[in-house]
């Protein structure tokens, strides 16, 4: 058996074909995702020197500082709290929309509805957040409207520069991401199962509770993850809506990395944030497995 024949055989094998096809993407991913990630991971164990230099003094010192420091902890908890609140609000608002489109919209109109739901994506995320600032701000649309109507005497402060404003902004931004997976899960439910639920003596509400909701849980969990993961790392909304007064993890990383020039500390915060996301994701994936257990 000549080596030429061997190479030819490998070249023709399915595995080689597959590797050839994914290689551009793979190279791209390794260079732009894996390599920086490894760099950040390595940095996080180093120490910050003067003027942005790094000292190769490997320890857990940065992590200890982050997980015990009051300010860091407060910011991480705020991030977690905000993203959980956003996720809850988004998914709870998205479910009825998805349900309506799946169950009440006639089949020939569904594509149109889904298209309409994606309209917010036509504008950039940054502009949408900025528009919410215009609406919710101290001199914003709502306050000036209420002032000119004489309903309030001075601008409301409960709408701006606080966590509620974050939740409103982010819930709007991520609503389509939550609606679509829930819609897909609802579409997959065999309608005769709902008739069976009623046939077996349950009201529509109880049939929803015992049949529709459990069967749509995979979609709900997908929605939760899709909303939770990006919101916990959101940078724009705390910066614009919060006016920099209520920083979240991403803002903290930016401050450490760019303003303080503490690359090691910034990296350690980034890795910590990733750990939090990974932890939460794992919990939901396990939950999802439970719901998927009985289904194919």
């Amino acid at each position: 058996m000549s080596s030429g024949g061997f190479l030819q055989r490998i070249g023709r094998s399915e595995a080689a074909n597959g590797l050839t096809m994914i290689s551009p993407t793979a190279i791209y991913a390794i260079l732009l995702l894996a390599a920086p990630l490894v760099t950040v991971f390595v940095y996080s164990f180093m120490a910050d020197g003067p003027a942005g230099s790094l000292i190769a003094d490997f320890s857990f010192a940065n992590y200890v500082k982050i997980w015990t420091g009051k300010i860091y902890r407060a910011i991480m908890l705020r991030s977690l709290w905000v993203s959980m609140a956003v996720t809850a609000v988004t998914v709870i608002l998205a479910y009825p929309v998805a349900y309506f489109v799946s169950f009440n919209v006639p089949p020939n109109k569904k594509a149109l509805w889904l298209f309409l739901i994606t309209i917010p994506f036509w504008t950039s995320y940054l502009i949408r957040v900025f528009l919410w600032k215009v609406i919710l701000g101290y001199n914003g649309v709502i306050n000036s409207g209420l002032l000119s109507l004489g309903i309030i005497d001075e601008p409301l402060t409960s709408l701006n520069y606080n966590v509620q404003a974050f939740v409103i902004t982010l819930a709007h931004a991520y609503a389509p991401f939550a609606i679509l997976p829930i819609y897909v899960a609802l579409e997959k439910i065999d309608r005769s199962l709902l008739e069976a639920g009623q046939d077996l003596g349950e009201s529509r509400l109880m049939t929803f509770w015992r049949v529709t909701l459990p069967l749509s849980m995979p979609g709900v969990i997908a929605a939760i993850l899709i909303v939770f993961i990006p919101t916990i790392g959101d940078y724009v909304t705390p910066d614009l809506i919060g006016g920099g007064k209520l920083p979240m993890i991403a803002n903290m990383i930016q401050v450490e990395m760019l303003k303080q020039n503490h690359k090691a500390m910034g990296s350690a915060i980034a890795v910590s944030a990733m750990l939090i996301v990974a932890g939460v994701t794992l919990i939901f994936l396990l939950l999802n497995r439970r719901f998927l257990k009985g289904q194919k």
């Binding site: 065999d190 005769s192 199962l193 008739e195 069976a196 639920g197 009623q198 046939d199 077996l200 003596g201 349950e202 009201s203 015992r210 049949v211 459990p214 069967l215 719901f291 257990k293 009985g294 289904q295 194919k296």
Partner: protein
Amino acid sequence: MTVSDKPTMIEFRDVQKYYGDYHALRGINATIKAGEFFSLLGPSGCGKTTLLRTIAGFEDISSGAVLIDGKDAAQIPPNKRPTNMVFQSYAIFPHLTVEQNVGFGLRRENLSKDEMGRRVGEALEMVGLKGFGKRAAHALSGGQRQRVALARALILKPKVLLLDEPLSALDKKLRENMQVELIKLQRQVGITFILVTHDQEEALVMSDRIAVMFEGQIAQLDDPETLYRRPKSRQVADFIGTMNFLPATAHPTSDGGFDVDVAGLGQCHIPADQAPGAATGNGVNVGFRPETLTILYEGQQPTDRETPGTVEEVVYYGDMTYYDVKLDGVAEPVRLSMRNVPGRPVLDIGTRTRVAWSPSALVLFR
């Protein structure tokens, strides 16, 4: 006690159903007795499933009335009706186990855990699935799913069990076994079974009475034997089994019957009960089943009449042989079937033969 003595369980009074412009049910009138095994038989799109779903409450009717056990069903939502359904797809809840599926409808009865387990166990045993309770629903075969669907419906002790083509997804052997099991089960529980099927054989095997439906109307409602032997129209005759048709002329006689002259067979008298369509004049048809004709072998004499012909086609089925025989003086061949018994050789194509027949097996159609 025969079925006809029993009280009425379901009554349809001029039931009409429109889907937009489409007239799906065109004036259904029928009564179904308590304890009866009743079938709705017809080709797809004839409205049989729609009619079944009006009983379950999944379809509103446009006019008329459906009465369940004497009560107008219009006011009763599906979950309050004394009916349970076995769906065509079985509709087994995929997120629940077999016993959770079977016990689904018992939640509202607030049973103790032991009582619940006992009832579910009984129901599973009744359908031959003892010991399957802990299985996941998706780990079941088609036949097992069907049994779960049956147990889940029967555990609630409904007055009427509705079956929407429950056997159509099963293979032939399993289907035939389940037919027998369903008949036994119906006798055991003694409640009304209403079966929707497009399979005429299934309907004949299982039913006390059959309603044959075409285009939203009941064409004939009778017991299986009457339906098979005395179909009221060519359409019904054609749908149920095989029937030969020969052109004929008919003249009414004083006893209510007809003197007919059938192409190829000759003249004979047909009594009134063999002419449900009451047709006279030219261009009427006479129908007869393949098994009512007999090939006469060398030296055999007919019990009634005989007519000569030529074998055109032979189809051998093992226990039976089907022949297409061209009777002298008729353009279209007729089909007849002969049981293959010893001493009765299978004939070759082209053989001249004599065919025995009897006027008592003929049915007159318009």
